[in-house]
């Protein structure tokens, strides 16, 4: 129940938009907050779209090198992974700074991550597998780094599909549970990267380190929540 309440709390924060705020007691401070979040969202759009724009321009202006598909794959894969990690940083950012409305940055970040994963996957399907389903299945089965990358991608699909306010409301508490899939997807993404690198594993290890920090940061919260749930169920047993 406590969780449901908390969830409702933040959906409220999530759903209100400028001008439609029913809580008139929130003063000008909220206006600044809203303003700030808008600026952040704009920055996210610009930052998240720029790798894509750079690639599209490069395709036409021919600066992606002798093997453009390799560049496309690498940049889209890297952008996906970085965006997933940034998405996972939103909660720690809120906790540390107390800037709670930052939650509203989470959905655009997550969706941009999925957007790049989708392109990344399609580049592989179109240019590497040349639309051939048999080759595609073979690659997924035989190459562990593809198996893992593909699993990461598949894990992200339901999250992207249920990212709307409508689905959030419909799924209620289950929404939060489903969206924990991002931990799995990002972990698989890091493993995918680590496995595909031929020799220089320094960057994959750095990203693995970032992921570990983001996950470890959450452990006390998870433990606390579990402790409370257990305590509560004990309490109801007694009564």
């Amino acid at each position: 129940m406590a969780m449901a309440k908390r969830f409702l709390n933040f959906t409220q924060g999530w759903t209100f938009t400028a001008g439609s705020n029913p809580h008139s007691n929130l003063g000008s401070n909220t206006m600044i907050q809203k303003h700030r979040i808008l600026v952040c969202k704009m920055l996210i759009w610009v930052a998240a779209l720029s790798p894509g724009a750079w690639l599209v321009a490069g395709l036409f202006l021919n600066w992606l090198g002798a093997n453009p598909v390799e560049t496309l794959t690498h940049i889209t894969g890297m952008t996906t992974l970085v965006l997933l990690l940034v998405t996972l940083s939103v909660t720690p950012l809120r906790r540390i700074t107390g800037w709670n409305v930052a939650i509203r940055l989470r959905r655009p970040l997550g969706l941009f991550a999925f957007f790049y994963a989708l392109i990344h996957f399609n580049i592989w399907f179109v240019f590497d597998q040349v639309f051939n389903w048999r080759w595609m299945v073979e690659d997924i089965i035989e190459r562990p780094y593809i198996t893992v990358g593909f699993s990461a991608f598949v894990t992200l699909i339901p999250l992207a599909l249920t990212s709307t306010k409508g689905w959030m409301r419909r799924l209620g508490i289950r929404w939060t549970k489903i969206h924990r899939g991002i931990y799995l997807a990002t972990t698989l993404g890091v493993i995918h990267y680590y496995w595909l690198v031929k020799a220089d594993v320094r960057l994959p290890l750095l990203l693995a380190f970032c992921l570990s920090v983001l996950l470890i940061y959450r452990i006390p919260g998870w433990l606390e929540k579990r402790r409370r749930t257990i305590a509560r169920s004990h309490g109801s047993d007694v009564s």
């Binding site: 021919n62 090198g65 002798a66 093997n67 453009p68 598909v69 390799e70 240019f127 590497d128 597998q129 040349v130 080759w135 073979e138 690659d139 035989e142 190459r143 562990p144 780094y145 496995w195 595909l196 031929k198 020799a199 220089d200």
Partner: protein, 320 residues
Amino acid sequence: MIIRSKKASDISSSEITPPEIYLGRRRFIRDAGLGLATLALSGTTSTNEVAGQSQEIPPRFRNLKSELGEDLNSYRDITTYNNFYEFGTDKRDPSRNSSEFEPQPWTVSIEGHVNKPGNYELDDILAPVTMEDRIYRLRCVEAWSMVIPWHGFPLADLIKRVEPTSNAKFVRFETVHRPEQMPYQKTGVLPWPYVEGLRIDEAMHPLTTLVTGVYGTELPNQNGAPLRLIVPWKYGFKGIKSIVKIEFVEEMPTNTWKMANSFEYGFYSNVNPEVSHPRWSQARERRLPSLFKSHETLMFNGYGEEVSQLYAGMDLHRWK
């Protein structure tokens, strides 16, 4: 001079390729400014600009094709898309990070089971040999490939001169170790210096080439200046670059990639579409500059007629 012979893998030039076939085959105009297309159009010597260096490409490369009618890759692609981990792991790193490298003067130490060991000046190695253009397919283990007009001479010519003894069963090559000029040698990305090896009969094979140039011009640093190996029926990483040591040994040497990851890389590393690498299917390749990985990979990279007898009776699934 361009070598011509009747064998399948030797090149044939445009003179025997009807123009309607080679015209219009160029898939990408994007190379027009720098690559072969320019040569085809202008018909005269063209200038290639790569990383500030200007290269005059002799007109004989106009409209050249491999024997399968394949276009040559552009000078620019050949010299800006390289795996040369001493200069970095990104394909563009070698062309960007190798300008400090000094390929002159150069000596090669020839050691081991030979009658004439010693430190050989590169100029002395090159003095008596006949240089040739050799158009070979280069198949990388990463499943991309190019067609490249190398300039060099048969390794066998050098081997005969130094007179190996009967104990020389294998040849072991070493790349120069100069961390101050090769920035990634300061990292532990691979065990340095880079080592490669061939069985003596592979080394003596007429297709095996010591390369000093590309497109008839001096080999750029990023391609392994001043002296590198090309073994066209093996994956590209066997073509060790910037060679300073050639040693004749009795035991099979351990090559660098096998040392780094023996599960994925073997000693022989013959191009073989039937034996897939754990990371890449080897059945197909991306023939650059094509975007699609749809070019069928040929056994021994298409040089089976010449080299398959070297491996008669060997289980090539086992001897990777």
